[in-house]
């Protein structure tokens, strides 16, 4: 947990911008994207991305939970006692996760079956907790809501990207529509299985780090 909080620290200066919603949105979606830059919450990002539809749904669920829990935690930030803030945050987050889970069970049973335990695991997703701790506890409700929304969208974009690559190469389809026809394309099934998730994730981080090196990689280069 300590390293995660450290990684998030530099961003707390954002509170200076107060109402500048655009800054907050850009920061979460692109400049400090939670998955690629801070490497948080990878469990879900690897587990549900074998189909584009699953990735979309999971991205939407995570955006909802992050935004809403940030909004509520920020509203209550002056009332929550410092010492028990973790439990209070988890309780608020879990409430929204339960709402999402019940919603899926009620209206999209099939989807709920496929996502299995991963909807519930949003509770322990580091992004949600990380944003609550690093941003919502120090900022007013509206910027916190935007920050949660932006981080959720940033996460969803990565999910969607990985989902597209895996579904396209793994089963030759996009959202269930055949793109690469069976007649000439041999499906690369490994991408639908667990190792494929690791490989696509590893290569994605490789590409992004090459384009936009973060602290460590730059230091290593200079040291050489």
């Amino acid at each position: 947990m300590a390293t995660k909080t450290e990684a998030l620290q530099p961003r707390s200066r954002l509170s200076l911008f107060g109402g500048k919603g655009k800054e907050i949105l850009l920061e979460g979606i692109y400049k400090a994207n939670p998955v690629t830059k801070q490497v948080l919450g990878i469990c879900i990002f690897l587990a549900v991305t074998n189909r584009v539809a699953n990735s979309l749904v999971m991205g939407a669920a995570l955006t909802f939970v992050t935004a809403m829990s940030n909004l509520f935690i920020s509203t209550l930030r002056n009332v929550i006692p410092r010492r028990i803030r973790m439990i209070a945050q988890v309780a608020i987050i879990a409430t929204f996760v339960i709402i999402i889970d019940q919603f899926f069970k009620g209206f999209y049973w099939q989807m709920s079956k496929q996502l299995g335990p991963y909807v519930a695991l949003i509770i322990t997703n580091c992004i949600v907790m990380g944003r609550a701790e690093a941003f919502a506890m120090q900022n007013p409700p509206l910027p916190s809501f935007l920050d949660g929304f932006a981080n959720g969208i940033g996460y969803a974009i990565i999910l969607l990207f990985i989902g597209t690559v895996r579904e396209l190469i793994g089963s030759g389809t996009f959202l269930g529509i055949t793109i690469l026809s069976d007649s000439w394309y041999t499906k690369n099934l490994i991408l639908l299985l667990a190792p494929g998730a690791f490989f696509v994730g590893g290569f994605l981080i490789w590409i992004l780090e090459t384009l936009n090196p973060s602290g460590d990689a730059r230091d290593n280069k200079e040291a050489k």
Binding site: M1, I42, C43, I44, A94, G116, F198, F199, W206
Partner: protein, 196 residues
Amino acid sequence: MNITPVWAIFLGSIFTNNILFASFLGMCSFLVCSNRISTAVGLGSAVTFVMFFTTVINYLIYHYLLLPLGLDFVSFIIFIAVIAGFVQFLEMFVERFSPDLYYALGIFLPLITVNCAILGASLFMVIRNYSFVQTTVYGLGAGLGWFLAIALMAGLREKMGYSNVPAALRRTGILMLMAGVIAMTFMGFTGMLSTQ
């Protein structure tokens, strides 16, 4: 009720359905704490211990308290509260009765509350409809599987110190690629058991 034999659940949770390489749970601490074997073994044993006890406690609470009262929809919040409470209790207990063990495991205990593998094991226990004996075995097996995964990774990372890894891959990229290769070798166990 799930009819998978107990030994199959045990071996399955360690090899074929390894909680890390097949279900991707506990990735955050897996990536952060796998740089030394001693750290990995400490965290691995703490996770195994906590996972075993919390799945058993959560089984009892779920089947004897939540289901009869029709409160199964709040199970997530109860599970996470049990895990947080158990870890807190364990920390105080170990500190009081075994200072040596506290120095060995103590620093890992707070990390465990946010380890999604622990919550994941409790959730799988509910989804797969395990009986009490099956739950006990599954909790132990899943913990050992996670232990095995992080210990393997730490061993590889210590050796990786001698390799010249491209700068852009150094932070997390190479770890993901390595995990991918290990996951592939674990898939080789699939033929061993044909059940969950």
